[in-house]
């Protein structure tokens, strides 16, 4: 059987893409809700995704089927299409906020002299091109981008060394559990990475102990997020919620920047480059799901629809985007929780071991 992905690529996927979208607006949103307990918000969401990933991997070890085949065997073609509709909406909504914040970041931070939406529009070309490719493009991109993402984060974290005070996190739990949960709920749109494993199911050759490797890499990605979030709060403490784009702000007190120049832009450019792909991944899956639901054979039709939808929202609802942002953070959390965590867990827990299927030895 010809697999689209390798286990190594699934592992590197989490290092390359898990931290990316979480480095822009998310830390300040969390800080706004839970102040010094913001790291707990991140921890709760990451733990939830870890649990989802763990259960999906358990199911992956029982079957060689992909998610479509698995669901068709259980709820029939119609039922599968219904469930896929939910995932389609999820992926479509999931990428909306991160794409908008990337646009805001690019326009407001990189093009300070001439900020216009025009400079961000080419993003949709690459997004469309990426979505027309088969699943192996994600694996192959992970093979290279894990290094670029890691280097970018390391550069930014190194630049902020000496500017943060860890004691700013104390006292732990001072903001109360309600604020922490509110912070977690509002930022669910940036998480849900465990769900990707459901779509990788049956697309790579699962061998014994692969779950340890994959979950280990998931933890590495999660660790990068936690460190970033903690360092961010410790640099800015009580004014952290005002720093809209953590990526640029985290290293702004660095002496290197003052003495040599904007050294941080090397790291920022690396992260921006990887983020182009990280933002395209939810659209990639929504395009694939759309093709499945309507049995679209031409490989460019679904990507075009999905990308045009996003381009439309970004370009024509430019004035209302803040309202959409607030709506997603306030009212769609339950939907994200349902589709990214509860639904995959239910699908996986009800899956039975395939007859005659045995995990391959390493």
């Amino acid at each position: 059987m010809q697999y689209q992905l390798k286990t190594r690529q699934v592992c590197l996927f989490f290092i390359a893409f898990l931290p990316l979208a979480k480095l822009f607006m998310m830390p300040s949103v969390m800080a706004g809700k839970a102040n010094e307990d913001m790291w707990m918000c991140a921890l709760i969401n990451l733990a939830l995704d870890f649990l989802t990933a763990f259960i999906i991997l358990k199911t992956t070890s029982k079957t060689d089927k992909n998610v479509y085949q698995l669901l068709e065997g259980k709820v029939g073609k119609g039922g599968t299409k219904f469930i896929m509709c939910l995932f389609f909406v999820y992926f479509l909504l999931k990428s909306l906020l991160p794409i908008n914040e990337q646009k805001e970041y690019v326009i407001r931070t990189l093009y300070t002299l001439t900020p216009t939406l025009l400079y961000f529009l080419p993003f949709f070309f690459v997004c469309f091109y990426f979505c027309t490719k088969p699943l192996r493009v994600i694996g192959r991109a992970s093979d290279v981008l894990w290094l670029i993402t890691s280097l970018g984060i390391i550069i930014l974290l190194c630049l902020s060394i000496g500017n943060f005070e860890l004691s700013a996190l104390l006292p732990v739990g001072a903001n109360g559990i309600a604020n922490v949960i509110e912070g977690s709920y509002a930022t669910l749109t940036w998480f849900g990475d465990g769900l990707y494993l459901l779509f990788f199911m049956g697309e790579f050759s699962y061998r014994k102990k692969d779950n340890l490797k994959i979950l280990g890499c998931y933890l590495l990605g999660a660790l990068a997020v936690m460190v970033f979030v903690i360092v961010f709060y410790c640099v800015f403490t009580s004014i952290a919620f005002r720093q809209r784009f953590a990526l640029t702000e985290i290293s702004k007190y660095s002496t290197v920047i003052n003495n040599i120049g904007r050294f941080d832009y090397i790291g920022i450019m690396m992260i921006l480059f990887s983020n182009i792909f990280a933002l395209s991944i939810p659209l990639f899956f929504s395009a694939k799901i759309l093709s499945y639901i309507f049995s679209i054979k031409k490989k460019w039709v679904s990507p075009l629809i999905v990308v045009l939808f996003h381009a439309f929202v970004i370009i024509f609802l430019y004035q209302r985007i803040h309202g959409i942002e607030v709506f997603i953070m306030k009212f769609t959390g339950w939907f994200f929780l349902l589709t990214a965590n509860i639904l995959p867990i239910i699908i996986c827990l009800t899956a039975k071991k395939e007859k005659g299927y045995a995990i391959k030895e390493n």
Binding site: Y119, F123, K133, P134, V137, A141, V144, M269, I276
Partner: protein
Amino acid sequence: MKIFPNLKDNEKLLKQRLTSEDVTFLPINLGETKATIIFINDIVNKDSIGDLVLRPAYKLEGRLSFKEISNCFLFPEKVEIYTIKKVCDDVLLGNAVLIVDQSTTALSFGLKQFEKRAITEPPTSTVLKGPREGFVESLPVNISLMRRRLKSEHLIFENVTVGKYSKTPIALCYVDGIADKSLVKKLKGKLENISIDAVLDSSYISKYLGEHDISIFKQVGNTEKPDILAAKILEGRVAIFVDGSPIALTVPYLLIEDFQSPSDYYNSPYSATVARLLRFFSVLLALFLPAFFVASELFHLQLIPLSFLLTIVNSIKGIPLSPSYEMFFTIMIFEILNEASVRMPKYVGMVVSIVGGLVLGETAVNAGIISAPTLMIVALSGICLYTVPELEQTFSVLRILFLVVAGSLGGYGILVAIAIFFVHLITFENYNAPLCAPFSPLIKEDMKDAFYKGFLSELQFRPKSLRNKNKRRIDFDEYSKGE
């Protein structure tokens, strides 16, 4: 059409087909039997015709059968042919063909003798250490160069003729037991299906061998050196020789090949690794330095350190062109000089460098047409481009493309343009070999000959990026047993 038994009929028909004045019909007597030798004057070895054909022919007596006539020519390259078309083809190839009265079979003698160039070091891949031989335009000489290096019964050559008018002999070369047979079959099929007037160089063929119609990147590798080709076919590739071309093609092609210089394998792994890293870094500089400089000047001034920014501001004072036009103009001058220096006779080349480098460059800066930093960046980028000469043409197109993007969309535009090429590159495959291997997909084993050049003892296995058979190429267990 089969050969007639009557010599006159054959001659008449052949004279109708081979009308050129350099075709000679030489009548001879083989004892009491009449015959004619047909050949093209300037491309056969006439001494050999005299010694190996005419001399034994005049010693014959009486009425002889075709078999007796054939047996009297002790010539190694002697082939029996039966059709008029084959007679014509063989004559045009440079062989001499003997047609005999009362026989429906002719004899073809491999007597072709073309003028050929001496074996010299190819100008495109010179080395300080290592073999200096290069392929020439003669297919038999190139085959002999390969045979000299790989004296194995597993070294196989398969012949195909391509070209309606040129009838160019093409040879596929591979090592049986290492190369993928299905690849050889596929390539042979592709070559046999080519319908073209003439194949004047191997580059004519390379266009047909690519699996994608449009791509800015190469799809077929090439080399002019037998030592490199031997190494490549021992990795599982298939080589294609074209008569009349000193460049052998190799399939499948990986992008990393062009970053691997022949000298890497003849020097110490340490210096080879440093040289490779320099090559990768140089290519990045060549491609992106002009683009990022223009983007910084136009859109992201905050990226430039203050002291350098002041230098730039001073140098661009009074320059009439905008940064992107200025860079574009300077790169165009560089490309024109490059093109001129390649085409001009060697003795004028010196003048071009003086006029181009000193007069144009220096004066343009002094006259305030271009700024000194721009000139320096173009010069650096141009030099860096030649660290990987095989990809120079592709990269110079990409450099201009990135520059246009930088001038119109700035830094983020460059990132997006890189992302588009990145997606294209990582998903690009030719004959099942991913172009960007061993980086994407990441192949740990093959990384020992990528950024880092491993010791010979580390390169025990053939590259996994290529679908080859017989994976092991160095057996250290056998070696230690011998000790």
